[in-house]
Amino acid sequence: MLTAAQRKWSLGWGFAAFGGIAFFVGTAIAALLLWDSGATGGQFFTPYTWQILRFTLWQATLSTILSILFGLPVALALARRPKFPGRIWIVRLMALPMGLPVLIGALGLIGIWGRQGIVNATLLTLGVEQPVSIYGLSGILIAHVFFNMPLAARLLLAALERLPAEYWLLSSSLGMKPLSVFRFVEGPATLRVLPGVAGLIFMLCATSFTLVLVLGGGPAATTLEVAIYQSLRFDFDPPRAIALSFLQIGITAIILAVISTLPKPDDDENLHGRASRRFDGRTAGARSWDTVIILFATAFLVLPLASIVASGIQADLWRLFKSPAFHQAALTSFAIAVAAGLLSVVSSVAIVVAQEAIGDMKRPGAGARAFAATLGGMGSLVLLVPPVVLGTGWFLTLRSLGDVNRFAPVLIVIINALMALPFVMRVLSPAMATHRRRTARLSASLGLSGISKLTRIDLPPLAKPLLTALSFAMALSLGDLGAVALFGSSELTTLPWLVYSRLSSYRTNDADGLALLLGLFCLLLTMLGTAGRERHQQDE
């Protein structure tokens, strides 16, 4: 459907994104490999390595399955209830855990599920002797579900909302039962994105660090990420860090490849987008089921957040809000988040456009197909390269150019953008695919291209997913501590860094307050991500 020139452009974008990412990651790894550590050449992999590898994969698998098993009914229920009271706020809250520094989320969870938390307090009053323990595998799972179920639900919900209105009209006029609707409409729609969503959550859980340590209860619960971090900390053994990183990337790549071979239903063909209205699920039973699911998920999500709010408001919020340190950190965080978010969205668009151009070829050669697969794989796997590896590698590369701190903001932006890439791609890729199926022939027949195609055809329907993607990426960057901690210095302070610095000098109260402010900041971003929705709902 594309003209030769358009195809060339699209592929060019893809090559640029590919080249940029490969250069950034490759340089860091090369710098570390070239480092003469003078290490004793100790064993890279010990029996303990295999033990933590097993645990890493085991907890990530369970976390992924649970997040999806919980997220799917939530997405189905929310999709069936576009008029559910406060729905937009529930959807917004779902993006919030991502933007919270992990430790803050963990403390919130402990406030609910911990030894002194309300769950155990309730169980005790009910006469249950053995309270729930959040420490150990169960705690890791609760935490991972808290952080990832909302992600799964949001991505699945987006897939359901992309379904054309005709489907619902048709299924209702055919008098389809809920099971049939699931089988013929909802199931295929969610299955299409499920491998991507599952892969993303798997990677997030496999590389989880602070959560696993804090809630794991001891070194039996450790991920490879911890071992990588350790090898660049006390030991400073870059070759070992690289070896462990490759192990992490390799094994996860295999698992992702397996997930991606899951049978996928065919794409829906050439349909007109129309605001969707649901005609099904009007029975009392369906209503109450959906209500229970939504309320349960909301409680699961909101209670830990409420616990963060409850400790946050005990701080002197106004003093914190007025403090110059907060202003500076908020400005820095915001600037980094905007830059990282935009970079991430632009790179994702470039990757998706190139993939589509290859998919559009009549007979793509093996090379082209391999390139498309590489782009997709890279967009995901980049999440597995530990930020500490990227940061340390670039530090080594840039040190001959003088003060590395001058480059720190740029590096942090790029690292954050890369981290967000898989999220952004999960949002944009299906949306852009649907959009192309709907409009490609039309644009081609109208001879539209360039700016006019962009502003008339592409931007209006894609504005919503673009904003959602941008807000995802910005929230992630906002909550990230890892990249900043590498370079962190008095000149470059972000909000999570400020929270940690309070915590590391006994000022727990201030840290709680700042965490609350950071959470509110993040909520503002998620409002940006759902901005397109309100308009959409008003149209109805």
């Binding site: 340390t392 003088g402 008095s490 727990t508």
Partner: protein, 336 residues
Amino acid sequence: MRGFIISLLAAAAAFSVATHALAQEKTLTVYTYESFTAEWGPGPKVKEAFEKTCACRVDFVSVSDGVALLTRLRLEGENSKADLVLGLDTNLISEAKAIGLFEPHGLDMAAVDVPGDYSDDTFIPYDYGHFGVVYDTKAIKNPPKSLKELVEGDPSQKIVIQDPRTSTPGLGLLLWIRSVYGDEAPEAWAKLKKRVLTVTPGWSEAYGLFTKGEVPMVLSYTTSPAYHMVEEKSDQYQAAAFSEGHYIQIEVAGLLKGARDKDLAKDFLRFMVSPAFQDVIPTTNWMMPVTRTSEPLPEAFNKLVQPKKTFLMGSDEVAKNRQAWINEWLAAMSLN
């Protein structure tokens, strides 16, 4: 949005003008850790006091903690712009020397008085603290009186500790138990494991869990209660005195070979062990001073645990055995 960009540009411009104007005078660049330079930390006061005496500017560059400091130096190598490094601890000295960036200070440090028999020609102590188990007096009426009681005590009374692979207090407890139990340390760990609620990557996470009331004991410093008594006027958190003695953490500073103005750097090292610096330490860094302060310490410090015996292993010994001991720890703590 445009307003935002303009203000960013203005800030950048103001910043570059400021750095340019100040580039004329001598500067002393000190690498340290973050909580040292925080607005309530010792950094700002120390900087002000020293700048009054030297017609120079003190520039702090801070990273997250002592280990990150060492990593930073390793990465920067000879290109480091640091003149002084302040914030390593005794366990890191051996590795810090191995990088080959430090040089002996050659100063007379007779006035420095630190428990344990620490002496070194390169690194000068500026404060110290003993590791200790801090407990919540509301939750625990009979705190352990010895490490043995901690190890063998009621498993339902939990403690949170730090991971020796990622944190210096975590490493401190490892060495403490090693000092007391020797080769039987793994057995001690296997017993203590039952009382360990969880192992956090750093001190902050552990102390956060503790002050939130999730766990009644935490591995911290014997000086930690001073913070709560002075700043929060609360006696709720106290350290338990252990009859075997306590392991010490001594924080040190060192001079880099590449320092641009060594006289200025040495002036700072001398200043560091003078009352002007030492007076600031106790109530900002919440550690003990290494020389006499000009005024007695606040009343709260008299209430703190005064360890009868101090454990300190040589940093070479620590460097040599650390990995093996950590592996033992991993094995003992991973048993079911």
